[in-house]
């Protein structure tokens, strides 16, 4: 019961964020999975299809926000609905932090996205569920930089 990886891809399939909670993946695997997942997800019709697909002994839970796909891969037995909600939570945190987040924010501040991700998720689990606390924490850390 854990998240295996979280990916943020744009519609062309470019990686905007890749967090692999399990270090057993090789670089080659990461690249292959990323492009396969993009192909899988971008071909699905969001209106009529669910946000879940089974892939490589995992379940992909994804959601599209404007031009970006937020994807997390979870265990087959994990709750898809809760994971979807936590992805949305992550996006909401980003949105507040950047004040209307867009793809360019993710490109130029990729390391900040990772910092925020590390406050939302830890060791493949969502660790904090209060938006205020996370933002407060990240801002405090930013001040120390």
């Amino acid at each position: 019961m854990a998240i295996h990886y979280i990916l943020v891809l744009n519609r062309q399939g470019k990686t905007r964020l890749g967090k692999w909670f399990n270090n057993a993946y090789t670089e080659g695997e990461k690249q292959r999975y990323t492009s396969e997942i993009h192909r899988l997800i971008s071909s699905r019709a969001s209106k009529i299809q669910s946000n879940f697909i089974e892939y490589q002994q995992c379940k992909l839970v994804y959601r599209r926000y404007a031009g970006l796909y937020f994807i997390s891969a979870i265990d087959i037995s994990d709750s898809e609905l809760a994971s979807l909600e936590s992805l949305h939570f992550f996006v909401e945190v980003l949105d507040t932090y950047f004040d209307n987040v867009c793809e360019l924010d993710l490109i130029f501040n990729f390391y900040k996205i990772y910092y925020i991700l590390d406050e939302v998720y830890l060791a493949g689990q969502y660790q904090e569920i209060s938006k205020e606390r996370i933002l407060e924490r990240v801002r405090m850390l930013d001040k120390l930089d």
Binding site: M1, T15, R16, L17, G18, K19, F21, N23, A24, Y25, T26, E27, K30, Q31, T34, A45, K47, I48, Q49, S50, N51, F52, I53, S79, E80, L81, A82, L84, E85, S86, F89, I107, F108, F110, Y111, Y114, Y115, D118, L122, A123, G124, Q125, Y126, Q127, E128, I129, S130, K131, E132, R133, R137, M140, L141, L144, D145
Partner: protein, 821 residues
Amino acid sequence: MGSLKTFIKNVRKSKTIADERAVIKKESASIRTSFRDAGLDHTTRRINISKLLYLYILGEKTHFGQVECLKLLASPRFADKRLGYLATTLLLDENQEVLTLLTNSLDNDMQHPNPFIVGIALCCLGSVASADLARDLHGNVERIFTSNNPYLKKKACFVAAKLVDRDPDLAETFMPKIDQLIGEKSPSILLGVSRLIQAIYDASPESRPALVKTVPRIVGHIKRVVSTGYLPDYDILGVTDPFLQVSLLSTLRTLAMDSTCSEKYLEEINDILTQVASNIDTGKNPAHAVLYECIKTIFTIRSDQSLRVLGVNLLGKFLSSKDNNTKYVALNTLLTVISIEPQAVQRHRSTIVSCLSDGDISIRRRALELSFAILNESNVRVLVREILQFLENCQDNELKPYITSQLIYVSDKFSPNQKWHFDTLTRMLRSAGSDVSSESVSHILALIMQCKDTELKKHVISKLVSSWLHDSTQFCLSLVTIWTLGEYGDLVLESGIYTEETEKVIDDTLILSIIESGINNTTFTESETTLLVSYVLTAIIKLSIKFKRPESIERLRVILNSKTHDTNLEIQTRAVEYKEIFTQDLQLKKGILAKMPPPVMKEAQTMSLQGSSHQKSGRVDNSHAKNSTDNGNDLLDLMDDNTTTGVETNYAANSQDLLKDIFGDVGNSNSNPTTGTNGNQSTNNNILDLFDPASNQSRAVHAPEVSKAPDYANSNIAVTFIPRSVPQNGSATIEAIVRGQQPNASIEDLQLLIAVPKSQKLTIASAAGDNSLSNGKSIKQVLKIIGKEGSKIKLRVKVTYNLNHQNVEDMFDFAGIKETL
């Protein structure tokens, strides 16, 4: 060297991929060079590492920077440490010796007086927790539990859980902390504790009884969350702290399944589940997430009858939701619930069936599985009708073999009467006759042989023939139709049966036309064709004693003769043998060609019930093993193409043996050779009448493929040209079909180059299939030719391909179309 921002801008500015590569290569090289500088200051190093991270996101090689990451995180500055740890978690993998270097830094930083530094160190350990790191650093994590900082405590829980996952021996170390931690009230710490309990539960069976004792505390926490009102910090769309509820419920489920969980605890769990399930309004995703967890728990643990009914009702609500995600989880859960509460699931039959026409393929698949799972005597008519309809519109070829084998299984088991049974099977053959396994074909044939009712047999034949007239490209439908005509042709010839839709009388002429199109087909793969032609030959010899008109019999003989020189050994042998029988006197022939005795199905069934076989055949024994395991699984196992039921396999073995026995006799019989005349073109024309393009549009597309021989063939490939429309007004559309001639050869990278005379213009339109002919695939290409009216169509064709990895080139000319532009 510029800043990170300049680098990102430069990459984005690149107009071409080559430009981008150049920018990346240059930057990567300069980062490498600067890393070689021993006196590199931390600020430059930090900029370099941040660029390295960007390279990582782009998917570039970054391994050369790993040691630099460790150097950076050893810096006393917070900004350096933060980026250094981030880079380390992303760039390092667990198999590296560099990890040992990391141990020391982590050890120091986890004891740092600044809690923020401890926090980022914990975060790093949570990501790169190798078994070695787990053993070396668990003491530091333990120490953090005693601190009063809730932020660190929370992180420590998650990291500890990860360490236990990695090294199960550590469960003992962290077990004593649980008692104190479960008393915490902070939601995020509880989230961590819940995770830690599950990790320890999975890793250490000895700790389980002690963990089960936390059940009342967990129940208490859930109760508190449910009964607290609105908490702005933790509210998501009107649900208080759904994440914590989900996590606690899932831990509760793990603990409740343990054998040491007492009745009293179970009662408490039942109560809290009722409370959670009845307190939430459905409609929003967070609410559904919590309910979904409740439902899963209800059906996994020993829960009350009333609670289970509540669970199924909630799933019913989920099913009728507009949201596809909710539907998806509901169907998934119902599949597991069906074995526990079959009656309750039945009540949602109409909703399940309506999901068969959902827009989402994964929802359709699950609805299909469920439909088979809830099928029984009372609903077989309704459900099978729905499933057949689904099959007729099914575009997903992966699904079809599953559906057909399941349909055969359920119609065998629940069929209300024989007529219904046969009607179902013919309808199935008609819509998915190419996706039926050979076992299933044998089974259907055995069923027909079993049938004692002559009127019903006639009905079946009429159905089969009309289905075949409707679509003759369904392979197994052709097999069954041709076999049945051969075996029982006399029944229909005597009494003049009409086909259903076209109202044609089934007489010698119609049967002959079916036989000829079977012999001349080009739709099927080579192995399929061999099988089909064998069936046709058997039908011919059987019909030779059933036809009354001498010219029809003569026609049969001519067709049979045409196959005595076939290049396929199996077909040739059979044709020659049958040719011998053909000339025997009628009395002897009647003896040899008598009807097949129906295979004894009863025996097969009792055999499988007893569970042991006295037969010597290994195959039958095999099917027994299958029978016991498959019957339960095959309903659920959608992806397994080989799904068969034990009963079928028995039939298959049985009827195949019978066929062999009979053909064996035939082969041994001895007779005089005869000579025959070729000719008699009259019946040949029938086939053209039958497929008159004007009479039926849809047939016009298929028909030529069936009867046309390849326009060019060598030992590797065969190319057929089929005019899509009659050439007129100076334009023609032709379809080129390329097939492999050897089923086992690998033909890849096939290219079709076609040239027309200078006065004409050629456009090559869409191609169907990829560029490979391996495994019986074919390639179709549509050609459009425009030229002067009245000119003849001439093509020069060059085909290049890789045959078993060797390049081959074939060239030929084609002018086989009589009509002019």
